[in-house]
């Protein structure tokens, strides 16, 4: 075995051995919650059984699928019409074996709307020669859509704000916009949750809690508002290629000659990171954020004294491209200075 692998094994064993006592599993609570969830889902199940029977009949009659290309053949084998179990909990995976069940409740706001993509990851959808990527969720558990060049079909299960998108198939036409096509498909593959805000915007979220896709209802969408395929340049170049780093990642470096006991960063998208111990000359890990500029709000604490770097605003600034960046911090004449590195 590789020496580094062994180090990993030993390190994780050590960490587990040192974990705090977490208490035993509360079996009474497990059973009570399980039964409560069962009771709450029972009426929905009945409705879905009816819907499923109708959907299955329609699918048999339609006999669609000629010329389709399955791009995710290695995915979990969930039936095209998703089949759930009688009880759903926020954490349980989609079933893979039972043939006798029904899906969890669909979200009415999700179903039936033609959703037009406006953002993929940290970047806007760009307007090019192809069509704007879009999705439509059906009551029968299908997702129909298109990327810039091809039509798509998959299936989904929604449970609370969790969603699983699987079984994607696509027509297989040449695409002049392969990058956007691939990013759209990767975002669909990464999606594990969704949210529809008060303004009706649908956000698909990945397992890291990051925005995978943002979509608007067709009625609120205007292609004219999308940037063109060649975006204006001028933002700083990342230290690492966007091909390697998918989003914007920022770290801090302590260029001062004192240790920071604590440090707090607030990014423009509202994300806050507060950690302790950044020694003089040390560098933090990278924090991924949806939005960042060449500076941000930073506060550090040294021997109980707080030093703050307070941006006035971000007007006129260019958002950083996906990549890795460093904010270098120093304390000069009693003031915290931030230099974009």
């Amino acid at each position: 075995m590789d020496e580094t692998e062994q180090t990993f094994r030993d390190g994780l064993q050590q960490a587990a051995a040192n974990r705090p006592a977490l208490g035993r599993v509360d079996l009474e609570e497990v059973v009570a919650r399980s039964e409560r969830v069962s009771a709450e889902h029972e009426p929905v199940m009945s409705r879905w059984r009816t819907a499923l029977a109708a959907a299955a009949a329609i699918a048999l009659v339609a006999g669609v699928g000629v010329g389709l290309w399955q791009w995710r053949s290695g995915s979990v084998p969930v039936p095209a019409v998703p089949l759930g179990q009688p009880v759903a909990s926020p954490s349980e995976p989609a079933p893979t074996t039972s043939p006798t069940t029904s899906p969890s409740a669909p979200n009415e706001g999700l179903v039936g709307t033609q959703w037009m993509a406006v953002q993929i990851g940290a970047a806007s959808v760009v307007r090019g020669d192809g069509q704007v990527p879009s999705l439509r969720f059906t009551e029968a558990g299908e997702v129909l859509g298109s990327d810039p060049c091809n039509s798509l079909r998959g299936s989904y299960t929604a449970d609370g704000d969790d969603i699983t998108l699987v079984g994607w198939e696509s027509t297989f036409k040449y695409c002049a916009e392969p990058t956007q096509q691939q990013r759209f498909r990767d975002a669909l593959d990464a999606t594990v949750a969704y949210d529809i805000d008060n303004e009706g915007t649908l956000t698909l979220i990945d397992a890291q809690g990051q925005l995978a896709l943002r979509l608007l209802p067709e009625a609120k969408f205007s292609a004219d508002r999308l940037p063109t395929a060649v975006p204006p340049d001028g933002s700083p170049e990342p230290t690492q290629s966007p091909a390697v780093v998918e989003g914007v990642e920022v770290r801090l470096r302590n260029d001062s000659d004192v240790d920071f006991d604590r440090y707090l960063v607030v990014f423009p998208d509202g994300m806050k990171v507060e950690l302790r111990d950044l020694v003089a000359g040390g560098t933090s890990g990278y924090f991924d954020t949806a939005q960042a500029y060449t500076y941000a709000y930073v506060q550090v604490t040294v021997d109980g004294k707080k030093y703050t770097y307070q941006p006035v605003d971000y007007m006129g600034e260019t958002q950083l491209k996906p990549g890795r960046y460093t904010y270098a911090l120093d304390i000069v004449d009693g003031r915290l200075q931030l230099t974009f590195d």
Partner: protein, 182 residues
């Protein structure tokens, strides 16, 4: 409702898990809860979250207990439930890292005899804290739970190549750090 059945031999319970028998759920929990909590702790890095994640996963397992497959399929299902629960907990908690936590999470005090080994394990712990949750999960499943890449991919709901990439990138990072520290 449940009497404590003690902690039977864990591997024997795993082999004999019989989801169709209600009593075997208690046996399963008592035999495996420490391991489940370990895995959840390593993924969530927070005591309360780890406990919540295990409870959440078990709610799902109990609800389906009489319909779950046995053997390896059961193992895969159980891990997938736990990983889903952990990632859900992480996703829902505020993106504000608690300052009080790191001190509590430190490894045991360094003693002169074990200093070198503990320094490396500290580096592993620190590195894991900087990994994204999915990548950290892949590492924990690979090097702590001894899962195959196919099993990791199933638990994470990603491609096997992605699972391999998560692990290999983490290995490269750790290797680089250890070399820097020498």
């Amino acid at each position: 409702m449940f009497e404590d059945v003690g902690v039977p031999n864990a591997s024997a319970v795993v082999k004999s898990v019989n989801p169709g028998v209600p009593g075997s759920f208690v046996e399963f929990v008592r035999a495996r809860e420490a391991r489940l909590l370990d895995v959840a702790w390593l993924i969530t890095r927070n005591a309360e979250d780890a406990h919540d994640a295990v409870q959440d996963a078990l709610v799902g397992l109990y609800a389906r207990w009489d319909k779950l497959p046995a053997g390896d399929e059961f193992e895969a299902y159980a891990y997938r439930s736990l990983v889903n629960a952990c990632l859900t907990v992480i996703r829902r908690r505020p993106r504000w890292l608690p300052v009080a936590e790191p001190a509590a999470l430190r490894s045991a005090p360094v003693t002169p005899d074990a200093a070198a080994g503990l320094a490396e394990s500290d580096e592993v712990w620190r590195l894991c804290g900087e990994l994204k949750p999915a990548q950290r999960t892949a590492v924990v499943l690979r090097f702590f739970a001894d899962r195959s890449f196919a099993e990791i991919a199933e638990a994470l709901g990603c491609r096997e190549a992605t699972a391999r990439s998560h692990v290999h990138r983490a290995l490269a990072q750790l290797r680089s750090r250890l070399e820097e520290g020498q």
